[in-house]
């Protein structure tokens, strides 16, 4: 059964025009199988941008990639045109540190992060480790590229870094992969009450936050032609009443375009008074964007301070 030429060509083009390509089920935001989700989790922790191909929406690629790679399962990772492996191999390479080299990343400088663990958090973690650990399985903290923290109990790998734990939990053994360790210095872990019972609360001072921009700074940035994506997150009805010149309505198409941009793209969001755009801005931060600004006071402040021609409403 020969691989159809067109499919062969399509795969070749894809792996040659993108440095890192993951053939997977689903997409980066909603993987449709556990193995694909695992690999996305690993890549997310190391890379801001990489290309994915959803084989579920392209049956010819789903069959084609298996023959192309001589590999029977999905997901499949290609780096610079070369087949790296499937889920278990990628996990293994992550553990051994080989994956950094394969992805062309600088060898991660191993830093021991300082992590403050409260006494109650330490108690809960110790209990969890006692219940689910053992057999070389220990407490892990990972911090992905979007600075989301995850606690888990997993086997210790050779590349793991031990945190310097301070506070009530001093003495607790907490492991991080090297990439996470670099994002974790200064984290505090506590326990807080939620409507669903007690939960760990992880506070990371390194996480990017939404920055605030005044309408004056926005005006100056527009006038000097600084590169940015100025997004209007109001409704089309509000926009019909008044609009800041150059701002683009953030509809679904526009949101999809923005999500495909490099994560260091400067995003500037505004709404009517600055409340809704703050929330939207936080969403973009959680997607991994590092330069996200909220326009303080929104278009109302713009009308009052910059351009009275823009009607207030």
């Amino acid at each position: 059964m020969a691989l159809e030429e067109a499919v062969h060509q399509e795969i070749t083009d894809t792996i040659q025009s993108n440095d890192v390509v993951l053939f997977m089920k689903g997409n980066r935001r909603s993987p449709q199988c556990g193995f694909s989700a695992t690999v996305v989790g690993i890549l997310d922790s190391m890379l801001q941008d990489y290309h994915t191909v959803d084989v579920l929406s392209a049956p010819q690629i789903r069959d084609g990639i298996k023959e192309f790679s001589s590999w029977p399962t999905i997901p499949q990772l290609y780096v610079k045109g070369e087949f790296i492996g499937g889920c278990d191999i990628i996990q293994e390479m992550m553990g051994s540190g080989e994956l950094y080299e394969s992805l062309g990343l600088e060898p991660v400088e191993v830093v021991q992060p300082n992590i403050e663990v409260s006494e109650s958090a330490a108690g809960a973690l110790t209990q969890a480790a006692a219940e689910h650990g053992g057999g070389g399985r220990e407490l892990h903290l990972s911090v992905d590229a979007t600075f989301q923290a995850h606690l888990s109990i997993a086997p210790r790998t050779a590349a793991d870094v031990e945190a310097i734990v301070t506070g009530g939990g001093a003495g607790l053994v907490l492991l991080l992969d090297p990439m996470s360790a670099g994002r974790a210095d200064g984290i505090t872990i506590d326990v807080s009450d939620t409507p669903n019972g007690q939960a760990f609360k992880v506070d990371n001072p390194n996480a990017p936050r939404v920055q605030q921009m005044s309408v004056r700074d926005l005006d100056a940035a527009i006038k000097s032609g600084e590169s940015m994506e100025l997004l209007d997150i109001r409704t089309p009805e509000e926009r019909a009443i008044a609009a800041i010149p150059g701002a683009v309505l953030l509809n679904e198409t526009e949101a999809a375009r923005i999500e495909g941009l490099p994560r260091d793209t400067r995003l500037v969001l505004h709404c009517h008074h600055g409340g809704r755009s703050q929330q939207a801005a936080e969403q973009f931060v959680s997607l991994g964007f590092t330069q996200v600004f909220n326009v303080v006071g929104g278009i109302d402040a713009w009308s009052q301070e910059i351009d009275p021609e823009v009607p207030r409403y």
Binding site: M1, D63, K66, E67, S69, S70, W71, P72, T73, F83, I84, G85, I89
Partner: protein, 89 residues
């Protein structure tokens, strides 16, 4: 409701033999062991000097490449290889 007949294909031992034959066609000097696990599931061990100097992925690609046809299509005889071990003797 009609009973669904699952895995009404050849018995696992017969498929295991097909897998062995296919691998042997590509790696004639290999020692090959194919162990049926569940319906459509197999564990395979291949020992061959041909693996010398190849990394794990390249070794496994040789074996998977040999059995592509047995794993292709909507209802392939080999649904999954649960474990593939490639070794140099």
């Amino acid at each position: 409701m009609a009973l669904q007949i699952i895995n009404a294909g050849p018995p696992p031992e017969e498929i295991a033999e097909q897998v062995r034959t296919a691998i042997a066609a590509t790696l004639p000097n290999a020692t090959i062991e194919v162990r049926p696990q569940g319906p459509g599931h197999f564990e395979i061990t291949v020992i061959d000097v041909a693996f010398e100097g190849l990394n794990r992925v390249k070794q496994q690609q040789l074996v998977y490449g040999a059995i592509t046809e047995l794993m292709a299509g909507p209802t392939p005889p080999v649904h999954a290889v649960d474990k593939l071990e490639c070794r140099v003797p």
